[in-house]
Subunit: 356 residues, 2 copies
Amino acid sequence: MSKRVTAKEIAEELGISMMTVSRALNNRPNVKEETRKKVIETAARMGYSPNHVARSLVKQKTETLGVVVPKITHSFFPEVIRGIEEISYSSGYHLILTHSAEDFEQEKDALQTLESKRVDGILISTAQTVEDYDIYERLAKLGVPMVFFDRCVFNIGVSCVTVDDERGARRMTRHLIEHGYQRIAHISGPSRVSIGRYRLSGYRKELEEHGLPYDESLVVEAGFQEEDGYEAMKRLLALPDTRRPDAVFAVNDASAFGAIKAIKEANFRIPDDIAIGGFTDDIRAELLEVPLTTIRQPAYEIGKKAAQQVIELIEGKSNTVNEIIVQTELVIRRSCGCDVESQSPLLSESSAVGAK
Amino acid sequence: MSKRVTAKEIAEELGISMMTVSRALNNRPNVKEETRKKVIETAARMGYSPNHVARSLVKQKTETLGVVVPKITHSFFPEVIRGIEEISYSSGYHLILTHSAEDFEQEKDALQTLESKRVDGILISTAQTVEDYDIYERLAKLGVPMVFFDRCVFNIGVSCVTVDDERGARRMTRHLIEHGYQRIAHISGPSRVSIGRYRLSGYRKELEEHGLPYDESLVVEAGFQEEDGYEAMKRLLALPDTRRPDAVFAVNDASAFGAIKAIKEANFRIPDDIAIGGFTDDIRAELLEVPLTTIRQPAYEIGKKAAQQVIELIEGKSNTVNEIIVQTELVIRRSCGCDVESQSPLLSESSAVGAK
DNA sequence: TTGTACGCGTTATCAA
DNA sequence: TTGATAACGCGTACAA
């Protein structure tokens, strides 16, 4: 550890008290302008850097937010983080980023460290292996400002920012039904995770509304990763010809990517033999050989809203438990076999940076 | 701020001293096993969470690394962060993630906060508008363990983990030359940034080695973003027919994406009219309508190595200034007009999660 | 094996 | 307008 200049040393240098230095440096009233100037100048000359650790200890505030993501993937979470970062930066908070790698034990670990580091608030999207809610409840009861995003836990008094998963799933399912598909399969997410449950329930409700049977053999519970979708699709493809799905709704785009891989390996064509729809609108979705029809989740927005929520909690501007629902959008591409005039998928305005 | 249980309170509860509590909780020797058990049990019961802030203050160590990235984009930096996270997690460090949004002022800001927060080490990739190196030098002189990754500043006594940019650029340029292209343009990065300079110099040296003229009108300095590549390409396309390039080497994939967009808008074909090569191997590169030939930078590796470097510095296992060069790889796809049997680009094993 | 006194670097409080 | 003193919660050093 390098030797650091302290406020005390500045005080000694100038023959004044520590408190005056502190006041001057923090732009507090009751300091003679002349003194303030001298202090600031001396501090700069001596290379003073205020010790935030000491400050946090006495102020009981770290100006830091803890973020827990299940995965630092390529598309959704980085975008969410960007949203979080933008809001928190402008409010003077910094981010401790942790990731659970979809593992509940690591997540608990991360949460405990964040607690020990006394972050002012926590933003979290649960791991897919979440087992119980004790730790969230404990933190919530302790009064640690906390907000879930994307993957939430409800009814434990914690706010949440997410999309209307059930509605999005219904929208996708309806879209497939309206295009004449009869045997629509669903590669679902883990039922432990909110978005897994809600998307499944949306799928199911929409089938019912259209008088289609809910066929359990067409629903495979899997994880959120590409390989999970791949394995699940293989199981669906192993069904006898007459029972094989003519369309598949995957819980998210990653899962859909895996499913597509399995479908191609089995020499079926998309969408002719099997249509497919995803959820997320990953940046890769529109670039696939057969661009993927999907439900767009505004990741950046979700991040911003979630950050706004915790900050409001922290600063006491609000203490209600909110469920913020961000709207999704059905993005129709070729994988569902619909007649959209498919423009060249290369870098549409909507994705990435729209060069104008 | 919620009321927190302190070590002192545990001590009072048990009628022992704070120190015994501290020793018991930190698995230090010289505590009767029975006492230790009681302490641990009581701590759990009372919901004790050690205050890391206080601990950091006395130990002069925060167990935290500061990370500064210019952008939280979709591909390269998230992968680097994943690598950093993996190593630091296993060594007990947590990450404060800041981003400069490619803006030098924000970067300085971030660096100052990280300094104030007394992070144990800093990992940084410079913003494209970097102006001077004062702050890096100051931090380095102060003895703050610091490592650059990807975009480095050399000769100021700070370690760096990057790829051999010049060599990668030469490799790409040579590849284009060997395929008969004569007028190879370069959309370069900002000359202020190391990778901008080295890639340009690689391009230039390779041309020279092959006896090709270095034509200034074929070199356009731009930024690292998609729109920069787009604008730069438009300028190249505005050249008279005979002076127009037949191939373009873009400083990175994002820039190449923008260039491709401009080329298509001008109704030229890739690679027939104009071939193109990038640098990075963004996850989208292989998914383009005409998959992009590029130089692969092992982002995850870079992150891991960079994290290992700072941690070694922090723990005093090393105090030498290292320049770690990670190898790149030429990835040949269709955009350069070469005869590769182009397999379906959809989610090859190499990208994302290879479902097996 | 356990306890006491002090210090880490800052801010809050109250007195001057 | 300034300063002295006491926290903040923990670990170190030494004594018991």
